[in-house]
Symmetry: D2
Subunit: 348 residues, 4 copies
């Protein structure tokens, strides 16, 4: 493979920045999060439960309140009173981990271990079939954590007064989006950076994204791909009526305020991680800032099999950067033209 | 103006991230840097010298060795033995400050105060006519410094051995560029991030840029605009033969290695801040990393006139972010279509 | 001005392709189209009417049925029985001429003379204040016509049967857009070209645009600028979940079919020239083709003042291409960085 | 496959625009063109020759003068006196057909049948192994021809006088490129359309491309993909110093003049179909126009096997558009993110 790099010359040393090894305590309270309740998901859940009960009988398992909760699972709902969770396990698509993030939207998040049901994703390092090995690595304390930055939002009325009280912050993992939605009319949005007017955007919408979200909606809108270990905020326009509106990357200390123009012919719908959240009318604003509560994601590389052949590629155990593999495998990043590789059977 | 924001609602507070106020000692040794020697430049230089001699008679002034060095100026050339400079003053275009950076390419850089000759620029906060006020602010210790990250480079031969010894690092302020140059053939370049193979790029070239350089060549090649106070490395392809090669933004802890493919049909010319530096043949590589020596640039806002009307815009003194103004004024960022503003005389 | 080209070397000869001189008969039935009824618009309408009644008393004037129709104006509504119009005059923004186009959505369109109320636009060659000169040129038969291509649409149900009968074609001047609208879920749309499957698009939406529309929504979504005298169809994706979806330009003989994927999680809203027209559910399709009825637009250059200084630029009378001026003036096409042009008063 | 469209609903009928069936006379004089002389190419050439000699003994075969010309092949070189060729066969990569085009750079081109050596390409419809079937289709007169537009160029000195006489036109199939090449300085190029000044481009270079060339260099520089059956000219900037320089598509009747700015700090190298052709100094110009001599390319679909399963997809024999298949297969156009399709073995 073109990735094999036989010897390891000097310039190829170095530890990837993406993830930091971290010893975490064996979890006592685990929250299981899933959205779908299809047979395969329910089967996988059962297998999880059985495994944990057998291997770690003292561990308490929680889940959100849903109709067919398996026995031995305690009901959990977010709140100051609810029991402290020290590991979140998600099972499903990227939307499931976005949902898990939203359960901890006002404070710190426990480490998150994410499993997919057969499709991998940027936010889904593990396949459900591999749960035993992944779980045991966590119980043994052998994990690598990628702290994924989140953004917190607050809303303001036309006179600049915060709506909903000081606690109304909502943390997002991917992005906050303003969009004209069903309105046929363009949005006019004033953008402020740290209180300074940056520009008036006439567009379908605007995306304020984390590095994690840079491979989600922002990418589709033309934004750059930002490594998730960087602390930064990306501002990407959606279909701007301007030839010269380019994506911007700010330091994570910046506060971005988006204010629907007083004369804007349409309101703007706010989505947070893909969930419609509210409508902003002309003169109303949302302020977006780095959250104090990133989301600690357990990395694929942290528990990869030591006998795997990738090890021979000169990258030490636990050192490989999931992200590099993901943008190649999932996004088909820089897929080269196949002129050199066409197989005979695809001819004529 | 659309920038005026009468009251200052809560969400517009906050200190811009761009620049940090820093007290600097009154300079004792000043290095004057200019490239052109046109009459206006020489006149401006004279005025500078007179002003400094009159106001700060104990200050020593240095310049590079050039034919018509004004009297009272000491010759200076980079080197371990040369006198320690504690302020650099540049006079000319962006190229002049890039040149100043190259004079300190192997170590720390003193604060830099840059003047233009009538054209402003991203790297040129001050106009030569305003030199007296700008200089006095510096002598009074009232400055705001923007630490602009630099990149250091090292070169490797086909067997991965560093070329030119360990000290051969060269610091750039904008970018390192690989380009096929006059060769009609595409470059094939393997890109490694922290030792891991990222992709094989088939293209005219690749740019590894600082945030400062994100508004230079990288922007022309389609890269995002990155705020210069962020520590990050931008990788932007030049005319890639792929539909899916997007600009990438890495944390500043990443090391990017570009290695000309063994089978590449052409060599690759390396430019550093726009200066041709060397040719890389197939199998040879350059490694680019954040330098330990950023370049401390004195900001425009640090010495802006307190009576200025911009103050009324809700941004406190010394708080305005030059960069926001620059991308609007210089890049005409997001210049909106003029359909709303056409003047009568431009009709028919 | 940089546009002045003193001598006219050989390579600068040639007639612009944009518009063809055409003698049109003095109009007998004129349709006045306006959307807004603000005082300035009503005043301008009055002036028009007076002028026509005085100068061309035999001409009949029509308008759509609206509350405060001026006296001497006949009511007109689209239909096979309605009186034949031989000149359309629009007064208002770009939306007004789009509306005029929609009045002739099922057949041929008379020549259209468009006036703006102070803002110029791509579709608005004339300022209302200049109406007298513009009108007289038309009555004298001195016009240059730009035939702007239109697209016709037909809709199909999940079994491929046309909805609404064969006559249900609707002509658009700018574009047909499919968009997820308020749905948080991505659209999945199968694209067929002349019956052949081209691609499955997972995106916010898709735009099928005329060259005229290439400077409207398609441009905001990243499409190329296509000269309106070219016969071509542009397909531009809106926020596709793919790194490699580029705008495509087809010959005007192509038929583009967009079919909402059977498994698409959301329906798709269809807009025609910015007017919401219908919802397409999974399995339903729209087919877009060049219309047989382009819209003949009277060009600005056709009646420009012979004594104007632009004449000295080496472009003969009636030969200048409005479009070249428009993309420069209205879109600020290729606005160069102002580093060379900053005025003193914009400093510090 | 997602391309299979079982029934053929009304909206999927229609003949693709790409290629027109054309009866061509059985060829009498065939020109064989190849660039490489590697063993596989020489073997393939031998097989061609044998086949033609056996099946069509009266046909005369020509080739360019090269060291090891096979026996039975006549030497041919371009010129008014040279024997009339009525079929060109190329064997090699895209560069080979570009070379064939250059052999007929001043006049009409015979139909071209292109074979690849194992790699398909946009300009390479056939695989060398299939030569017998492809050739017989041609002799039977069953071909579909795609007329690929070419561009002709003429050069002008600083006073606007044509250089090299009126006959100096050179036809290109892909594009004419101006590029700063090895110069570190940006090019300043004035662009005129039909004699009218369009813009001043400050950039690495400019590409004037045919629709055929839209998938070559222009695509890498960010240009749209234009169907080769459209007659149009694409102008694509290479790394412009402007946020608002977008690709433009002109009708084929337009003449594009590129003139190196009088004050440009660097000369501009002209490449034609990837071959360096000349240097343009400040004030010199090149004028590019549609050539009267397109290049008739024999299409893959014209001779595809009637029993092939693609036939069942509702596209009649000979009707399939090679181009649709090519942008999918070769460019991996709109390759969707693999989140839905990851195979188990690519996990962990
Ligand atoms: N045109 C577009 O690209 C749009 C994208 N979205 C994205 O969808 C997200 C919500 O996701 P779901 O609830 O799963 O909705 P969904 O089921 O509509 O899926 C959106 C797609 O985005 C992927 N995705 C989500 N987060 C990602 C990330 N950080 N990096 C790479 N891919 C990612 C998902 O795997 C899925 O393929 C939003 O946060 C937004 O980023 C939402 C609307 C439009
Ligand atoms: N196609 C392009 O855009 C190219 C750009 N360059 C840039 O030119 C730089 C060298 O500059 P000079 O020696 O002055 O050469 P130069 O005289 O050729 O000027 C290059 C232009 O880039 C501007 N520039 C330089 N650094 C900038 C920055 N950080 N942000 C915004 N604009 C900036 C300069 O003001 C000037 O307008 C290189 O570092 C490279 O970034 C070099 C080659 C091609
Ligand atoms: N994000 C975007 O850029 C969007 C653009 N639109 C465009 O708006 C059009 C409808 O226009 P209005 O009814 O006036 O709605 P509107 O009042 O919302 O105006 C849309 C803007 O597009 C301009 N425009 C319209 N046609 C144009 C053309 N052919 N070339 C250049 N500019 C053009 C108008 O002058 C106006 O500035 C649609 O056909 C669509 O092209 C619609 C929705 C979103
Ligand atoms: N950065 C880039 O993308 C560059 C591209 N080129 C292109 O290379 C062409 C010359 O080709 P070669 O002599 O083979 O040089 P080459 O051996 O350097 O190949 C250039 C590549 O472009 C491909 N190509 C050529 N014409 C094409 C077309 N019409 N559509 C799609 N792909 C095409 C070739 O198959 C090959 O992969 C030039 O006409 C120019 O278009 C030249 C320089 C730089």
């Amino acid at each position: 493979s073109s990735r094999v790099w036989k010897a390891s010359p000097g310039y190829l040393g170095g530890t990837p920045a993406a993830a930091q090894p971290r010893v975490i305590e064996p979890p006592k309270n685990i929250l299981l999060v899933n959205k779908l309740r299809t047979p395969p998901v329910l089967e996988a859940l059962d297998a999880f439960l059985r495994h944990i009960h057998e291997q770690h009988p003292t561990v308490k398992i929680f889940a959100e309140d849903k109709p067919d909760l398996p026995s031995g699972v305690n009901i959990w709902s977010p709140g100051p009173e609810s029991e402290k969770i020290d590991l979140v396990i998600t099972l499903g698509g990227d939307g499931t981990i976005l949902h898990a993030s939203s359960l901890f939207k006002s404070g710190a998040v426990p480490p998150v271990l994410s499993f997919s049901m057969g499709t991998l994703g940027f936010l889904l390092p593990f396949h459900a079939d591999d749960f035993a090995r992944a779980l045991e690595s966590v119980f043994e304390g052998k994990t690598t954590i990628l702290y994924r930055m989140r953004l917190s939002c607050s809303f303001y009325d036309t006179s600049g007064v915060q709506i909903g009280g000081a606690h109304q912050g909502w943390q997002v993992m991917n992005e906050v989006t303003l969009h004209r939605g069903p309105s046929p009319h363009l949005n006019t949005i004033d953008v402020f950076v740290d209180g300074q007017h940056l520009t008036e955007a006439v567009c379908d919408g605007l995306i304020v994204s984390t590095p994690t979200g840079s491979t989600a909606y922002s990418l589709s809108a033309g934004g750059p791909i930002v490594h998730p270990s960087l602390s930064a905020i990306v501002l990407t326009p959606i279909c701007p009526r301007s030839l010269s509106f380019r994506p911007l990357v700010f330091p994570s200390s910046s506060a971005i305020t988006l204010r629907v123009g007083e004369k804007s012919r349409s309101s703007s719908g706010v989505s947070m991680d893909g969930q419609s959240s509210r409508i902003l009318n002309p003169g109303e604003a949302v302020r977006v800032q780095a959250s104090r509560y990133p989301i600690p994601c357990i990395n694929r590389s942290s528990i990869s099999d030591d006998t795997q052949d990738r090890k021979s590629e000169g990258v030490g155990p636990g050192k490989e950067d999931d992200w590099v593999r993901d943008i190649n495998n999932l996004l088909q990043y820089n897929a080269t033209f196949r002129s050199k590789a066409l197989l005979r059977h695809s001819r004529i």
